[in-house]
Amino acid sequence: MKEITCECGHINPEGTVLCEECGKPIEKNQHIDGNDEKQLLNMRYDGSARRSQTYNRTIVDKVWNFFSSVKVGVTLIFITVIASAIGTIFPQEEFIQSTVDPAIHYRDQYGLAGQIYYQLGFHDLFSSWWYMILLAMIGISIVIASIDRFFPLYKTLKKQKPKRHELFMKKQRIFGRTTAEDIDIDRFKENLKKRRFKIYEQDGHLLAEKNRFARWGPYVNHIGLIIFLLGALLRFVPAFYVDEFIWVREGETALISGTEGEFYIKNEDFTLETYDKDDPEDARFKEAIENQEGPIPKTFRTDATIYERTNKDVTGADPELEAVKEGAATLNNPLKFDDYALYQSSYQLDEFKDMSFKIHDKDDDETNHGEFTIDLTDPQSTYELEGGFRVEVVNYFPDYEMQDGQPESVTKYPRNPAFVFNVYPPGEEEAETSFLGIGANIGASEDNQYKLGLTGFNVRDVTGLTVKKDHTLGIISLGGAIFMIGVIQGMYWNHRRIWLQPREDGVWIAGHTNKNWYALRMEIERAIEDTNIEAPVDQYEMKS
């Protein structure tokens, strides 16, 4: 290290711009902070020796300098802003309720622009690798920029002495000379103390300082940001994070996925309430309810019992369950148990549970050749009827819809079931084919002798629950909290320093703050009241 000895005797590290103790500009280093062309000193980091400004030889230096630059940091932020904004022009892939291939969906819905959007990966921007890289680069930049500045600044502020070099004083933004005999220094100190300044003295030289801690605000908030980002990354570790989704029908007991076979849930009841303009409680919303086309939902609720499996270690055996919790999940109020939380996130009303049919003569509904019931959670391939008929299920569409003249199932859930049956009358090898759905009973052939009729059905609601376990929340909240502390620390207080230097014919006064110069001048004006010190001026010329 090429150390630099200042005329005040202090030994400064290589790259120092202003002596750490007395503030004298170190001649050969003024270009570093651009002081040589200007009348005022750049006081940003008190002229401390920053690695990024000192070395630029090895590849490590270059990388370091790249990431420690605020210009680079802000550029990264702007790129992220613009990319994010573009990402909101069309809906992201995850919000599209479509079974169509996204490549086709974007082209069909939004034309050429949509196609380009898709090809560039904006349809899934926020989990794309290049968005991740942007965020990671911002993270790296924050870490490096902070380390680059924090340590030298900390050291310099700690070492600073009240006695300042003349040049340092004269080149402060706030500076003034007073020529007078009767200057009341005690009064000045008192005023400053009243304004909560700490005062340091050295041979008649004064340094009044307050709120130095505010200088650390940015570093604290950057640490918060980094912790937040790390927490977000930990979600990729399964021990920290589970995110599953289950459908549970009313009355059904189902394994809760993501709990490693440990927990089961029974859906006791699912309730959907809507606002009712005739209900006195909701009458005040009458106008809004009438203006809205459909009903306005009021509550979604699942009442459930949570069971724990007690024989988890016995593989192959039927689960033995023990109720551990009863409760309800509503939107905004998840049902919590163990480390997990169940969130009400979707529902399906009136899903078919079972359907019953009878066979009758084509022309006479009153006849009955036998009945059968299909359990839609477990449809059989054939049903033997008491009257000797046999019914074969040729095709089952749980959620039937005609698409391009072909029957198809749009989901796998029994929301609108339809069947193709082969009906074998007793003793016959030849079958009659019929197609049957709700509100659709099409005999496949004109000369069918029999017909199937729906005699009854049962429906039930299905609740959709998200299963969450999230141990990263603690880390993320910690990051958020530290971030807030840091921003408030840096924003609601400012670091202010005032120097007073005794001269033969009076005093010099200088001031520095990291922000809000007008407020600093007001502060100085109050501090010099009744002291005969003249108000300093702001030597900075706004170039607007």
């Binding site: 802000v74 995850e94 939004y110 203006n291 979604f300 939107l331 958020g480 807030m484 110069w517 007008y518």
Partner: protein, 396 residues
């Protein structure tokens, strides 16, 4: 119950007019020859502003009583609340720096916002399940307070630009400044046109295919742009000059396009009309009035201080509280929904502002332009994202 609704509506009207009166007093401070603080007019102005603010609080509380939930749940309520927060933030900064001119610009912007809000449906509406959470109030009110404070930064930036941009020659600065003024004219035109047509009960009904089905669409303004393949079925109504392009499929897309066109055209008439009368750029005509009063360094600092105060509040409300709520309501604290993304964009933008200012010394003109940009983003999030790119948060 109905009574509270009426009282609340009247209080809002009252607040509106009180702010208007306060604006005149702040205008009066210009005549004061002294630079900096003025005594009488300014003091009266701020007093009246505070009375107006208290009146608006009255509106807020009575409306809360009427609906049983905090009135921040639809675009009307949210936008009026935002206007109220802007006034509040102005009052706070006024007491720190005592810049009268700030009032002259802040209050009209708040007035525009409140008037603009009233163009949306104003009836009290029930809360859908996802909004039934205390976090709704906490999140929305803090976010809005943050945005209000940040908007004062825009107001101060505007004062800075109008007083400092060199008007002796045309430049990018004069161009964009006129553009900002034109946008304000567009907003005003929108308010005037929509309230006039609604006072006349104008209605024109079209029949047009929407998602494959014929539907009726009722315009409340004469149709410049009709719905795609729409047929006018009302009698005696102006036929549209052209049809909305085919890709505007949504039910209200064509209607919104039409309203937008009216506002743009109204803005042109208003802006150029004024400019022809003044025979100068609008900003150039205002500049001489301000010059004596403005201390650019002070105004610049007010603008910055507003960001410094508003940024933490905004972060807390629009990001942190939002995340806590989203975690409870939708089991994920972040979902990249457009409204969330735009809150993040706002956050990033102001973070960039702070870095540029602190580390690269961006002050004065540059900083003022950034403040204008930031307000643009806030308004975009409030209006465009709700009306155009609506996601989970769609209030409208």
């Amino acid at each position: 119950m109905g009574d509270w609704t009426t009282i609340s509506g009247n209080l809002l009207y009252a607040a509106f007019f009180i702010y208007l009166i306060a604006t005149f007093f702040f205008a009066g401070t210009i005549r004061d020859k002294k630079k900096g603080k003025s005594k009488i007019a300014g003091n009266i102005g701020i007093t009246i502003t505070i009375i107006g603010f208290v009146t608006q609080i009255g509106y807020f509380i009575t409306r809360w009583m009427a609906s049983g939930h905090a009135p921040v749940s639809n675009l009307f309520e949210y936008t009026t609340f935002f206007g109220m927060m802007l006034v509040f933030a102005f009052i706070v900064l006024y007491f720190i720096y005592r810049v009268d001119l700030l009032g002259l610009f802040a209050l009209p912007i708040a007035l525009l916002l409140i008037a603009f809000a009233s163009m949306f449906p104003t009836e009290v509406s029930p809360l859908v399940p996802s909004l039934q959470s205390h976090w709704l109030y906490i999140h929305v009110t803090t976010a809005s307070l943050g945005q209000g404070i940040l908007s004062v930064s825009f107001v101060a930036g505007l004062v800075f630009l109008i007083s400092q941009v060199d008007q002796s020659k045309r430049s990018k600065h004069t161009y964009w400044l006129e553009f900002v003024i034109y946008i304000i004219a567009v907003t005003l035109a929108f308010i005037v046109l929509s309230s006039s047509f609604s006072a006349m009960n104008y209605e024109a009904t079209f029949e047009a295919p929407i998602e494959g089905q014929q539907a009726e669409i009722t315009y409340e303004m004469p149709a410049i742009a009709g719905p795609n393949e729409g047929v006018l079925i009302s009698d005696d109504r102006m036929a549209p000059l052209f049809q909305a392009p085919e890709w505007m499929r949504g039910e209200d897309a064509a209607k919104k396009l039409n309203t937008f066109l009216w506002a743009i055209l109204g803005g042109v008439v208003l802006y150029w009309g004024t400019r022809l009368i003044l025979r100068k750029r609008i900003a150039a005509s205002i500049q001489p009035l301000l010059n004596k009063k403005v201390n650019p360094e002070l105004v610049d600092e007010v603008s910055y201080r507003a960001v410094a105060i508003g940024f933490p509040v905004f972060t807390l409300g629009a990001l942190i509280f939002a995340m806590i709520w989203a975690q409870q309501a939708w089991d994920r604290f972040w979902g990249w929904d457009p409204k969330e993304v735009w809150a993040l964009i706002t956050f990033f933008f102001y973070a960039a502002y702070l870095h540029l200012r602190l580390s690269r010394g961006w002050q004065g003109m540059k900083s003022a332009w950034l403040a204008v940009g930031g307000f643009g983003i806030i308004m975009f999030n409030l209006i465009a994202v709700n009306l155009i790119i609506s996601g989970l948060h769609s209030y409208a």
